[in-house]
């Protein structure tokens, strides 16, 4: 226990590192996942094929492989530093975004991987919206984009929010392997340093590590439960 208290600042820093990575990854995954879902339900066959292909590839590859391909496969393809993610302003809030290319590669990998799952959760939500809704909207003369944005997605979102939340919880836990791919300063990395460099015993450090992840995932789970209860109340 004293180990956790003595190194509280290090754990807190690690937790902050994980929060920063996950916040960016969650936003990225939701945006990209939404786009891919739109592709998958679009009336244009090439876009549908693109969406299906994307999901097939990234949902079925282990995250470690995606990480590897991102960190060491993108540079030979010309994405040397992935500096397009070094967004001015944002890199002030999240310094690693500016000074660590491997943070950006890990972010890309997590987003690519997670958005496949977000897409499928969202698509399940879209399928749960009665077909009559989309047909009625179409008969009113709404275009595909208008239809999706104003009629289908707002309803689909309610069905999809809990599964998407589960995907994000899984993503937070998945982010632990980013520490093995050059992301310094997240929770997992901090524990690694405490154990192998400072020689602290493994068990208490990993208890602290687990506590850190639970601190992120349990409140998210409770929030999802609350959302679900509220939705159940409005539907009835």
């Amino acid at each position: 226990m004293s180990i956790l208290i003595d190194n509280f600042d290090l754990f807190a820093n690690g937790l902050l590192g994980t929060i920063r990575l996950c916040l960016l990854a969650a936003v990225g995954s939701l945006l990209l996942g939404g786009l891919i879902a739109a592709f998958r339900v679009s009336p244009l066959p090439p876009l549908r094929a693109l969406g299906t292909g994307y999901v097939t590839v990234f949902r079925n590859m282990p995250l470690t492989v995606v990480m590897f391909l991102s960190a060491f496969g993108l540079p030979p393809l010309g994405v040397n530093e992935a500096s397009f993610l070094n967004v001015p302003g944002l890199n002030f809030l999240i310094p690693q975004l500016g000074n660590n290319a491997f943070f950006r590669f890990a972010l890309i990998a997590i987003v690519l991987y997670t958005s496949a799952f977000v897409c499928e959760a969202l698509r399940a939500g879209i399928n749960a919206v009665p077909t009559g809704q989309a047909e009625a909207a179409r008969s009113l003369g709404l275009t595909f984009t208008q239809n999706l944005r104003n009629v289908v997605l707002p309803q689909a979102w309610k069905f999809a929010v809990v599964p998407i939340g589960s995907v994000i919880i899984a993503m937070i836990k998945n982010s632990a392997i980013a520490g093995s791919f050059g992301v310094a300063g997240d929770l997992m990395y901090t524990s690694d340093v405490l154990v192998s460099q400072e020689g602290l015993p493994l068990l208490p450090v990993f208890l602290g590590l687990s506590g850190g992840y639970l601190l992120l995932t349990i409140p998210l789970g409770l929030f999802l439960d609350a959302v679900e209860r509220r939705r159940a109340a409005t539907i009835r």
Binding site: A71, F72, P75, P76, N100, F103, S180, G182, A184, Q197
Partner: protein, 288 residues
């Protein structure tokens, strides 16, 4: 008093009876050795079997392929000592001693000695004793073969654009951080092979850890990498023996000095590490 005498007599009787019966059953030539009775050398020479711990995964020092004895500089050192004991190469029994089991293997007597890129330090000296050092390793830097800009760790102080890679939580990672000036200049992965991938991609300019590990990687891809050959820390490699076995330790130290003087050390070096790194100019064993 009386009791003590009786036990002593009984013990003598048992020993006498034991040796007598042994001499009867055993082969005509009873094992003899040139060493003083009761020493570790005597025990091993008489047993005719030598249990030794080495690394099995360290190229150039102790690397074991399928169904073969391990090979490397550490193994050559073992062979020199085994020959002095009068033990043939095929009577040397090798055990794999990974870093964290080494002290236990020595103190439990599972192996007679350990030659396994084993750094001498005070914490370890409390559990076991060391002969040697027979080699002084140290943290060094590996760069691309055609790189001439990196000359030592100081370059990372003056040129913050040069990134250097190591493994999370390792002592070399801590050491190189003292030289880094910019955030993100030290890149850390979980294994060195990722550092090498990053170096091939030019995502980092250098990889740093103990020169022995780096030389192992150079030996696999000598046309891609090179080691600077200027260690900036000291990691003296010793031969682990049972704690306070001073006779065995001193005897090994004599052999190391003799082998260095008469060329056996050089032959062992040339056969293994010689292609990658120059031989040490001198070795100073530490008799304590």
């Amino acid at each position: 008093m009386r009791f003590k005498r009786m036990t002593a007599i009984a013990a003598v009787a048992v020993v006498a009876f034991g040796t007598a019966s042994c001499a009867k059953k055993d082969e005509p030539a009873a094992p003899t050795s040139k060493f003083a009775a009761g020493t570790t050398m005597d025990r091993i020479a008489k047993a005719g079997k030598f249990n030794v711990g080495t690394k099995w995964d360290q190229p150039l020092f102790g690397l074991k392929g399928l169904a073969k004895a391990p090979e490397g500089f550490d193994v050559e050192i073992v062979k020199i000592i085994a020959a002095e004991l009068g033990i043939k190469d095929d009577k040397v029994h090798y055990e794999e001693t990974v870093s964290k089991v080494r002290e236990d293997f020595i103190s439990s007597g599972r192996v007679d000695m350990i030659v396994a890129t084993y750094t001498i330090n005070d914490a370890r000296k409390e559990k076991i004793s060391f002969a040697g050092p027979y080699y002084e390793a140290g943290q060094d830097i590996l760069v691309a073969k055609d790189d001439t800009t990196i000359t030592g760790p100081e370059i990372f102080k003056t040129d913050a654009t040069k990134k250097v890679c190591s493994v999370t939580g390792s002592t070399p990672a801590k050491k190189i951080a003292e030289y880094a000036t910019a955030p993100g200049q030290v890149v850390l992965f979980d294994v060195y092979t990722k550092c090498l991938d990053a170096l091939k991609n030019k995502q980092v300019a250098a990889v740093t850890t103990d020169n022995v590990i780096l030389m192992g990687y150079v030996s696999k891809e000598p046309d891609k990498f090179k080691v600077l050959g200027k260690p900036f820390t000291k990691e003296p490699y010793g031969i682990g023996v049972k704690k306070d076995d001073k006779v065995f330790r001193d005897w090994i130290n004599d052999i190391i000095e003799k082998a260095f003087a008469d060329g056996r050390y050089k032959a062992a070096w040339d056969k293994t590490v010689g292609a990658i790194a120059p031989m040490p100019k001198e070795i100073k064993v530490n008799r304590y």
